[in-house]
Amino acid sequence: MNAQGTHMFFQQLINGIALGSTYALIALGYTMVYGIITLINFAHGEIFMAGAFVGLLLVATFKMNIFAAMVVSMLVCMVLGVLIELIAYRRLRKSSRLSALISAIGVSIFLATLAQMIFGANARSFPDDAFPVRQIHIGDADISTLQLLIIGVSALLMVALEYIVQRTKLGKAMRATSEDYNTAALMGINVNMIISFTFAIGSALAAAGGVLVGVLFNAVSFNMGLMAGLKAFAAAVLGGIGSIPGAMLGGLLLGVTEVMGVAAGYSSYRDAIAFFILVLVLLIRPTGLLGRKIQKKV
């Protein structure tokens, strides 16, 4: 690889990692919810969209600082996620998995339509001064302050998540509940509370992703949750659904491959790349990269 090529490669790698970080943030919510109640939360992409809109509203209308807006958006979406579970999933927990899945699709359509009614069909953008974008030279490659923000915030959130899940009492109870729901209840764990907690955390991460993506592409629209949600879902499955490190790895891998694919000249296949990789990995490793063998619960 010549100097020009290496430069290109690092540049695209940085772009890919930034995009992939946002996929990873969304993918974590899919994988955590699946891990605990084996439901693909199809409304998760719309929580991401809601997060972007709340952030936009706070920055554009209330002139709030982007970081403060992100934190508030995460809190709002925590409540949204918990409410969705309470209203649309909880009562279906003991019925067939298909019922909950259909309910999830219903919530997804409802939220996207609601956003269209409130904010209109046109994409909106963050004000230009929402985040000061500058280019920083690192060796041969350029990294923008925006990419740095995305990678930094994502990394920080993932480290925080890892800490919560591995070290705190609630996080341990979450792991216990995802391993064995009934036995967790026999330990005195309030499993309903743990499930709400899981939705809250996953939704907060999606909201952060929504704000970051909104600033990155400078576009927030009612249907942005669909493609981002599908790709993040692909990332979660790619990494092994139910596995938290898997979602992080899957997201990064997908982002980097997508950007590399576009750089190599296949830009019209941009959205297809993610699903092509998904099919390929599942053919070779049906449980995903870091997925455990699926043990049928008795």
Partner: protein
Amino acid sequence: MLSVEKLFVSYKAIKALQDVSFNVEQGEIVALIGANGAGKTTILNTVSGIVPAISGKIAFKGEDITGIQPHEIVKRGISQVPEGRRVFANMSVLENLEMGAYIRNDKKAVAEEIDEVFQRFPRLFERKKQLAKTLSGGEQQMLAMGRALMSRPALLLLDEPSMGLAPMLVQQIFDIIQEINASGTTIMLVEQNANMALSIANRAYVLETGEVVLSGDAKELAANPEVRKAYLGE
């Protein structure tokens, strides 16, 4: 201490328990024996709140606990060692014990309790950092019992503690059950190994297709020709 009256439980159309009544007094070891599918596990899971009752009443320490949530039942002092041990396979031995102490908030007291469990089961101490799935069957049974003791239950429900264990280990586990009982915990034991169960129990109930067919003093039941024929392999 525990009194169950006229309990009926169904799984969809299948009747699992019909008109089951029994009681457990403070300090006792009470055994529930019966064939596979007789409803023994269903009884324990209904007491623990995992399986809902259609009708009937479960009272613990004089309070009605029918239909309350499983985690509330643990808080009132009933802990269960489930069938097949059900340790959290991908969590360490220490983390499994911590989960057993989930309802308790006094960190110092919990740490002391963990030490007590390690004294009772030294093998667990040697393996405290290992994932539970790497333990042998006997060690997993010890972990499941230690974990259930972490909530300091007044009543311990044990579901098939001998299942899948070598005879020498079964003897060891039953010795430990007697020790736990001697230190003040009331025990209700479900077993297919009726011989072992009757040898340590004060009283026993015999269950057949969801109904209590016999009950009484464990020694007398062990001597009963019908019981010997049906459950003790004679």
